[in-house]
Each structure stands twice: as C-alpha cells, then as structure tokens.
Amino acid sequence: MGCSSSVSSSQPVHRTNNIQSSYDTRGTIVVYGMIQSPATQRVLATLIEKGLKFQLKVINLKAGENLSRSYLEKQPFGTIPALDDVDGFTIYESRAISRYLEMKYKDKGTELIPKGNIKVEGLFEQAASIELSYFDSYANGIVTERIFKKMRGGEPDMNKVAELRRDLAKNLDVYDQILSTQSYLAGNMFTLADLFHLPLGSLLLKCGEDELFESRPHVKQWWNKISTRQAWKTVQAMA
C-alpha cells in the first residue's frame, strides 16, 4: 500500500532542560498524506520546527487511496493530511493539526504561537485569518490552474489566473504595508501565520509568479526570511 519514511529534525532550537522527552519513546506520530501536497507540507514544516519525529504514510490520491473506507474513517472529507498522535488521537485539517501540535508540544522546538499576552495572541489570530482570507484561495487557484491541472493533463485557464493574480496582487500590496512596520505577519515573531504561507508561496514561485513577491520590497524580505528557515528547506528536500 503506502510506503513510510522516518524523518527527524536534529536541531531543536530551544531546550528548557536536558531530560529526554518521554514522547520520543512512546510511539510515533504518523502523518497521512503526500509530500507534494501543500497541506501535508504545512504539517511537516510544523513537525520539523517543533523537532518532532514522525512517519509519513503515503495516501496516494491518484490511486484513490483517500477514498478508501479506512481513510474515510480517519478523515471523512477524504482530503489529506490527517495525523495520528503517539497515543492514537486522530486530527485532520492542516492548520488545526499544526495548532494542535503547537499546543501539545509547546516546550519543544520553535515557539509557533505567542502565549501569555492576550493582545499578542489576538494579533496572531488576526494574522492567521489574513492568510485564509487574502492569500490561500487566490494562491491555491493560481497554482491549481498552472501546476495541478497541467499534471492531470489539462490546460490552465489563463483568464482565471489573471483575475486571481490581480486580486492577490492587491492583497499583497496590503501585506507590504503591514510588513513595513513589523518583521512577520503577527508582529516581530515568526508564527504559524507565516508558516502557513510556505507551501503555496513556494508553488507560486515554481510556476513563474515571482513578480508577486519580487516587486514588493517588504513582502520580498519577509518571504526570503521565512522560506530559508531550516525546517522549510528540509520539507522541500523531501519533495
């Protein structure tokens, strides 16, 4: 069926003590998905930022494995990824998985959601919502036309792409404004709100949409910072 591979990050960024976490010996986190899937990549990036060991169990979309009864029991919408935690707890939706991992493994690796200050948390939520409202569907639409459709033997609708690009460009003008006064979308700390952009942002660049970032100095700077993080480089090397 699917193949699995073990990956672990060898560079925890932040250690609170030297005691080996019991999580390392109890069982493994299993991610169900595909390395080429943007949503799966979101989860892998988070796992690696947190320094968490995991296994990737491939759910082959082309072969319809996402519609098998056993997978649908895990993820009733039949999309990838899904994740089983070490104790068998199952969760799906990439952003929910990432948030859960951050909450559960708060003290491991990079801190990805600011805690302790309600205003700062509120601004994190604002940034996380910005990604969903103003980036995700436009980037996804462009990438679907220019990359995924092509992979399936179809032709991109370039009128649709132009419309999406125009709207995304307007939104990125606002990003440029926001990022002119702070380093990251939620403030001065890298958070999940930035990380969530990585998979589709990288695919936009792959299909030649560089101008969206290049022409906006603060967006460009922000993109360079977040896309050169070690965790993201590791995910890209897996694909």
């Binding site: 919408f77 969760i91 929910a96 859960y100 509120g122 103003y134 404004q177």
Partner: protein, 202 residues
C-alpha cells in the same frame, strides 16, 4: 470606553462578531460603516481601521484594535473567558485540537459556498454539488455528536450562522432541511437567543 464594532448589522462577518459579544454578555456600540457609499474603501478607513478595506473592525475598551471576524471572536473569548457562554474549550489539548479541526472545517468546506449568490449558473451548479458533498459529511459527523467540535456549542458552530442564514434567505434551506442531523444542529444553533437578537438588528 465601551467596545466598539465598526460594521453593519446585515454584514455576515459583522454578525459573527455581534453574536459572540452577545453570547459573552458584553455591551458594545455598533458604529455603522456605509458600505453602499464605499466608506470602507476610503483612505481614512484604510489607514485607520482595516487596510484590506472590509468590515468588521473591533476596538476594545482600552483602544486595542483587531480585525478579521473569526480572529475578533477568538480574541473576545480569550479576553473575556469566564464571562457568559464558554465558546472554546479550555486547557484540554485534545478538546482544543478538535475545536480547531471544526473551525477549520468551517473555513475549508462551508465558507466557500458563499458563492451561491453568484449570477453565473454554471458556477452555482458547481457550488451546489460541492455543498451537497460537504454537508453529507457534516451529517455523518453530527450523527455522532451534537456540535461540530463535540458535545458543546463553540465558535466553530457560531461561525456558520451568518452564511447559513443567507442560504436560507436565498431559498436554499433545503440543504439543511434534507439532512436530519444537520437540520437538528441548524435548528439548535439558530434558536440561540444571541442569534435571534442579531437577526432582529438586521
């Protein structure tokens, strides 16, 4: 200074915030933004309120400003935890994870159907097909638990109210009515006094 919400009572996103404020028992002032006149696109609004040019925006008692309706609702729950209805689970990481899953379901599978008001027939046909497929899954989920995140009403359910109401107003309520568990859930969440109050404002 009371909590101020900039928006309109008929805006679906503003309605989300108002419902949350009422659930938490928080007094607020609704300052109407004239959407028809394009007030939200003026330079003043963009500079001072919301740089993407949409509503709502909330300014808290201490002057703290936040936008994006779902972020505002989450912020209110965090800030005023212990007041009114609890709208997100506390402390239990699994319960919080399942809440996040439900909140993401709303964004991934439900929110896109706001396109149902589109004039393009081909697009509407596609939205219907997608919405039917997604609500079939909701039916499965809700056959095992009363609310999307589990046993309790949360923001994940609340976020569905305003677009669901729009569906019903477009005479598309059959999407809910035709699925017994979805129907029960929809009736339960729409009959909450907070939502009834927001509807009365519109």
């Amino acid at each position: 200074m009371p909590i101020k919400v900039y928006g309109t009572p008929t805006s679906t996103c503003t309605q989300r915030v108002l419902t949350t404020l009422i659930e938490k028992g928080l007094p607020y002032e609704l300052i109407k933004v004239n959407l028809a006149a394009g007030e939200q696109k003026t330079q003043e609004y963009l500079d001072e309120k919301q740089p993407f040019g949409v509503v709502p925006v909330l300014i808290d008692e201490d002057g703290f400003k936040i936008y994006e309706s779902r972020a505002i609702c989450r912020y209110l729950e965090l800030k005023y935890k212990g007041k009114g209805t609890e709208l997100m689970p506390t402390n239990d990481v699994k319960a919080l994870g399942l809440f996040e899953q439900a909140a993401s379901i709303e964004m991934s599978y439900y929110d896109p159907m706001k396109g149902l008001g589109d004039p393009d027939e081909a697009k509407i046909a596609l939205y219907r097909e997608q919405l039917n497929a997604k609500l079939d899954v909701y039916e499965k989920i809700l056959s095992k638990q009363p609310y999307l995140a589990g046993q309790d009403f949360t923001l994940a359910d609340l976020f569905h109210l305003s677009y669901g109401n729009r569906l019903v107003k477009l005479n598309e309520g059959h999407f809910f009515e035709s699925r017994p568990h979805v129907k029960d859930w929809w009736n339960r969440i729409t009959s909450r006094p907070s939502w009834q109050q927001v509807l009365a404002l519109a």
